[in-house]
């Protein structure tokens, strides 16, 4: 196992490097310039701007220059936010996304697993139908519908929460509505995966064996069924966690959470090469690490899987 982790950690930089090569080239060949705006900037000045960001050099030269900085941990300047470096932008935006994402994921796990287990244990019961209908709604209702709905009810009508805002000092009740909005589709997915996993596992021979041993039903479920039923949820969680903690554009926009999610889209729209590349490196690293975590968790859950 240790060897496997080490090997994966060695290949990780390669993956990120490839990712970076692709992003680096893509942003530069994509049409549109970071310096164009509604009002024309004289070509000489645009030329100066290109020179300032080394965009006047050939792409390979730029890349080598950039890579040198990345290796030293410097993701370079942002082309849009002129007072800030990419390092600063990422370091000042990742925490809200992370806090919101982990909270939402925890919420999604609690809601999703409870609903999924209850539904999976009594398939085709009234409970099953209602929780699966709710989860279907959860999957299909996009955040841009649920979010504003929650705002209208809980902020405008009841006045329990602020419409938007984020307390920089950490946890506050500002997190409630965005976390719920963000968690709903995930909770719904988890509930369905959990239910399907349980239904699959419950029909396995070894569950019949467990019952034939006279174990009480909750022992059968918790000890014998749950681990196997969790596997699909765990493989979903890997990318989902990476996704959720790097921020959601929609939820962060609705609730104005100062997170990374919006930076991603905005940087692409602004042709902010530096920021886009920096985010790709950051999120790429996170993805690689989380995938590794999922693999390790898988091995932990399922003794049949061996890494060597």
């Amino acid at each position: 196992m240790l060897k496997y982790i080490l090997r994966r950690l060695v290949t990780a930089p390669l993956v990120i490097f490839l990712l970076l090569v692709i992003t680096f080239t893509m942003v530069r060949v994509a049409p549109g310039s970071p310096f164009s705006s509604e009002k024309a900037t004289p070509p000489e000045i645009q030329e100066r701007q290109r020179a300032f960001y080394h965009l006047d050099k050939s792409i390979p030269v730029q890349f080598i220059y950039y890579l040198g900085n990345v290796v030293r941990g410097d993701l370079g300047p942002s082309l849009k936010y002129k007072d800030l470096t990419v390092n600063e932008i990422i370091s000042r935006h990742w925490l809200p996304s992370f806090v919101l994402g982990t909270t939402a994921m925890a919420l999604a796990l609690v809601m999703g697993m409870t609903a999924g287990i209850l539904a999976g244990l009594k398939p085709n019961s009234r409970w099953d139908y209602s929780s699966m209908t709710i989860s279907m709604v959860g999957i299909t209702l996009p955040a841009f519908v649920t979010g504003p709905l929650l705002v209208v009810v809980f902020s405008l009508k009841l006045g329990w929460f602020r419409v938007s805002g984020w307390d920089a000092n950490g946890f506050s009740k500002d997190i409630v509505l965005p976390a719920i909005t963000l968690s709903l589709p995930y909770a719904a997915r988890i509930a369905r995966l959990m239910r399907a996993g349980l239904l699959e596992v419950v029909n396995q021979d070894y569950i019949r064996t467990a019952r034939a041993k006279g174990l009480r039903e909750h022992v059968v479920v918790l000890r014998h069924a749950l681990k196997g039923a969790l596997l699909p949820v765990v493989s979903f969680l890997g990318p989902a966690v990476a996704f959720i903690i790097t921020g959601s554009l929609v939820v962060e926009t609705i609730f104005q959470v100062p997170g990374l999610g919006r930076q991603f889209t905005q940087s692409a729209l602004n042709r902010d090469y530096g920021l886009t590349q920096g985010l790709v490196v950051f999120v790429g690293t996170l993805l690689v690490v989380l995938n590794l975590v999922v693999d390790v968790a898988y091995g932990f859950l399922d003794p049949r899987i061996r890494y060597d």
């Binding site: 021979d205 064996t209 034939a212 174990l215």
Partner: protein
Amino acid sequence: MSESAPVVLEVRDLKTYFRTDDGADVKAVDGASFYVRAGEVLGIVGESGSGKSVANLSVLRLLPEPPAHHPSGEIFFQRNPTQRLELLRAPLSTVRKLRGREMAMIFQDPMTSLNPFLKVSRQLTEVLEEHEGTGPEESRARALELLSAVGIPAPERRIDQYPHQFSGGMRQRVMIAMALMCEPTLLVADEPTTALDVTISAQILDLLRRIHGERKTAIVLITHDLGVIAGMAHRVAVMYAGKVIETAPVRELFKKPLHPYAQGLLASIPRLDATRREELKPIGGSPPDLRAVPSGCAFHPRCPHRFEPCDKKVPPLLEVEPGHYAACFLHPQDKPPYRGPEEEKK
């Protein structure tokens, strides 16, 4: 094996139907009766789909209800000399307490019947912990004892492994050890060797024989293999389309099968040899559709001796010869009907 030993399990007129989505019932077991005495081995044979497994899963109430339901039937289990329980109508919690403790079951496929996510130790000890509240150390000692009793080498090491680290035969040994953890009075072995290759299967049968010899557990042995029956069972019940159509002491049946289906079964075996394993050669024609069982004698579409009454009336199970029952119109119909072990005793 004495005729006077107490009856551990008696199944009377058991019907187990499965409700399907279109409302029709699959009549997997349709009025089967059999019993087994303490220390006795009852063999149940019959071709695939005849209801052997369903009947025995019904005994342990392991079938999900719905879709399974029981339009009729009684299942009596003698817990101890004074307590006799009817299982089919008993609360599931009562039945659950018997499972694993007083009646244990071994399944056909050892590859899938053990939980791949749990260590063998866990799967063994939990039986004792559940039923007797035994502490972990004692349970583990008992598990080790049984692992070596079923012939697992180096049990100290093997006990902390996962099922996938065991071969098929070894897994079946683990299953047997697991079934024996609480010293049950009844052991149901549902085709315990079908999934194993010849030599391994012989070893497992030897093990079962040895266990039976040492512990005198009552065993219901379900199998396709008449050789197994010949070498191990005291009495046989032959099932066809959810019914027991012939039952007799092993010798009687092999000597003189009365039902044309049983005759067919035996004819398909070239030699009676306990060490040779022979698959049942299917008799001409195909097994009945359990959603629409043929009228009268369910075997009539395939029966070479079929005659006038066969497709109109259901032949009752009658004691054609002493202790030898069959359900077929070929035999005199004035014989006493099957009444279960109590009647037989008279």
